[in-house]
């Protein structure tokens, strides 16, 4: 078990290192000079002002020292939690801007992931090998997983927000309210939270339901299921065993899907102008705020790594084979 965690930890450390290196290298490898384009965008009137600004940005980026030193400085700043100054929200530090957005994203993602995982798996297991359900509801599941997140979000916003007018479709809470701890404010938060949550939940749900359905079908064809059936075990018991075995790949699947799930949250937030990380990313791109974009990238990587680690722990708790060191844990 120590070996299992040691290995995982090494992988995560390496991944973090690679991510930071990508973050460092991309701006420096890309064609064009980011400093010059930023100066050009500012539209300075006199050449002296432009020169001063160029110098200022060169110093901020730390471009005036050799590349290896830039790299070390980059790490040093990172470990201090300094991700630079946002250009869009000048002069706020990027770390602070992101920290304010993260709770919104988490509030959407965590319930959507957990609930859809449980509901989808239960439902998929229930539908498997039941002719009627299998033939009617599974196509729906496939259409749901194939739906681009933003399109489902757009449709929901349009149908329930604009036409029916039940839910608000923009912002994290009503613009007329100031954040206080009152019932109206919490109610407004919930009303704004609901549609993005449902939209994410539905797409995730389709994926889990289908995955589980396929898994259960394989398990029901496994030797142990046939053996149990031959012994005359009730169908419910056989399905229970199959479910436990089928749930393991679904946990691994959750780890594998994290990247896609985050992508879904990003675009859903954009549709609903929900003030989380996705919204920040859009603003960063629109305003060419590369510090903010790079900060958001690092936060996503760290979040995904943490989530992977939690899933590893859950896997050990659920699968006894990893605990006794008998292999298993392929996650």
């Amino acid at each position: 078990m120590r070996r299992y965690f040691g290995r995982k930890f090494l992988i995560y450390a390496l991944t973090f290192f690679v991510a930071v290196t990508i973050n460092f290298m991309i701006p420096r490898l890309m064609p064009g000079d980011p400093v010059r384009s930023m100066v050009a965008r500012a539209g300075m009137q006199t050449p002296e002002a432009a020169a001063t600004m160029q110098e200022y940005y060169t110093r901020i980026f730390g471009l005036d020292v050799p590349i290896w030193q830039q790299y070390l400085n980059f790490w040093a700043a990172l470990l201090r939690g300094d991700l630079g100054i946002s250009i869009w929200l000048f002069p706020q530090p990027v770390t602070g801007v992101i920290m304010r957005a993260v709770p919104y994203t988490l509030a959407l993602l965590i319930p959507a992931i957990l609930l859809s995982w449980f509901a989808g798996n239960k439902f998929g297991a229930f539908a498997a090998r039941r002719k009627w359900l299998d033939n009617t509801i599974l196509p729906v599941g496939y259409v749901l997983t194939a739906t681009p997140y933003m399109w489902l979000a757009i449709l929901l916003a349009w149908a329930l927000g604009i036409i029916a007018g039940i839910f608000p479709i923009a912002g994290g809470y009503s613009f007329s309210l100031a954040p206080t701890l009152s019932w109206t404010f919490v109610g407004s938060l919930l009303a704004h939270w609901f549609l993005p949550f449902v939209s994410l939940f539905l797409v995730f749900f389709g994926g889990w339901a289908i995955g589980m359905r396929n898994m259960i079908i394989y398990e029901l064809e496994a030797d142990y299921s046939h053996y149990l059936q031959a012994l005359g075990a009730p169908q419910r018991l056989v399905r229970k065993y199959a479910f436990r075995n089928a749930a393991l790949p679904q946990i691994t699947g959750l780890a594998l899907q994290l990247g896609v799930i985050v992508a879904g949250a990003v675009v859903t937030e954009i549709v609903f102008s929900y003030p989380g990380l996705g919204h920040l990313i859009l603003k960063a791109i629109e305003n060419q705020d590369f510090f903010l974009l790079q900060g958001a990238f690092l936060f996503i990587v760290i979040g995904v790594l943490l989530a992977n680690f939690i899933i590893d722990i859950v896997y050990v708790l659920v699968d006894p084979r990893t605990r006794t060191g008998m292999g298993g844990g392929s996650a």
Binding site: I11, M30, P148, W151, I154, I169, A263
Partner: protein
């Protein structure tokens, strides 16, 4: 969300019975999921090929009165700027197929290369490749795509496909590695090795054909994945700088408040296009699974 259904119990039985291919075809033509999915995909493919010939103007041209609902002249209506939504849609379909084939294909090639090499060679090569695979596997693809695309001045469908391919191969590599592992010690592979067949020929002549059906299904899933990734990137505003795509249409419609203005003809077609194509591919995949794996056929 892709469905890793093919990860499990793919049957690696070695059957070279002459009738095997005909049997697969027999079941393929009778599989409703496969035939239905294929029909939808072909329908959109034909639309993508023929569509641009049916319309006189380019996707970004300002051709008519703005904000027109669908009419006999503008089949899908026009945008806020008087662009023809139908023209955008059919050109966007082309971009969708291109990015799916290029991105999915590249991912499959890299994944196969890494998977075969790691699985067949084993030892240190395997350890190293496995480490790289695991690292790229936990890197969130979209975040990496974001950061690279944001710095690119000129973006095209091809560049998009390239970066999608470079970062989404790990799960393919892992699945193929596992299967290669189980095939590597079979008698016929040993025999080929003893007779001095070069490694590359063993991999492509002896091992790969036994997973042909699996590889094909993997490509289908990757196609869908690449299309969805590209649409996501386009929607965030990192789409192709020239031309049009379905994701870009969605991006524009939201950016110019098609929602609030009730211009449903602008944002519904691109979404239907993506969903139908990707969904049809997924359903085809299930159908293929049933064709190749007799255990799954419905009784």
């Amino acid at each position: 969300m892709t469905v890793p259904s093919v990860d499990q119990g793919v049957d690696t039985k070695v059957d070279r019975v002459p009738g095997a291919r005909r049997e697969a075809l027999y079941f393929a033509l009778r599989n409703k999921k496969l035939v239905g999915g294929l029909t939808v995909v072909l329908l959109f493919l034909v639309l993508a090929v023929v569509g641009p010939m049916l319309t006189a103007h380019g996707p970004r041209e300002y051709v008519g009165p703005p904000m027109q609902p669908p009419s006999s002249e503008y089949w899908f209506g026009t945008t806020t700027f008087g662009q023809d939504v139908f023209a955008q849609f059919v050109y966007g379909l082309r971009a969708t197929f291109r990015v799916g084939i290029l991105g999915g294909g590249l991912t499959a090639i890299i994944g196969m290369f890494v998977g075969f090499t790691a699985g067949y060679r084993g030892g240190l090569v395997d350890e190293t490749l496995n480490m790289i695979t695991n690292v790229v596997l936990v890197l969130p693809v979209l975040a990496v795509l974001l950061i690279i695309s944001a710095y690119l001045r000129v973006r095209s469908v091809e560049v998009q496909a390239l970066i999608i391919g470079l970062f989404s191969w790990p799960w393919v590599a892992r699945a193929i590695r596992a299967q290669t592992f189980s095939l590597r010690s079979r008698d016929f592979v040993d025999l080929a090795r003893l007779s001095g067949v070069p490694t590359r020929r063993i991999i492509f002549g002896e091992i790969a054909p036994n997973m042909a059906s699996y590889l094909f299904m993997v490509f289908i899933l990757l196609f869908g994945g690449a299309v969805l990734f590209a649409a996501t990137l386009d929607f965030i505003g990192l789409g192709p700088t020239e031309g049009i795509s379905l994701g870009l249409m969605l991006n524009n419609s939201v950016k110019w408040s098609a929602l609030q203005l009730g211009m449903s003809w602008w944002f519904i077609p691109p979404g239907i296009g993506i969903t139908a194509i990707v969904g049809a591919f997924y359903i085809m995949n299930v159908g293929l699974d049933e064709v190749f794996n007799p255990k799954l056929r419905e009784m």
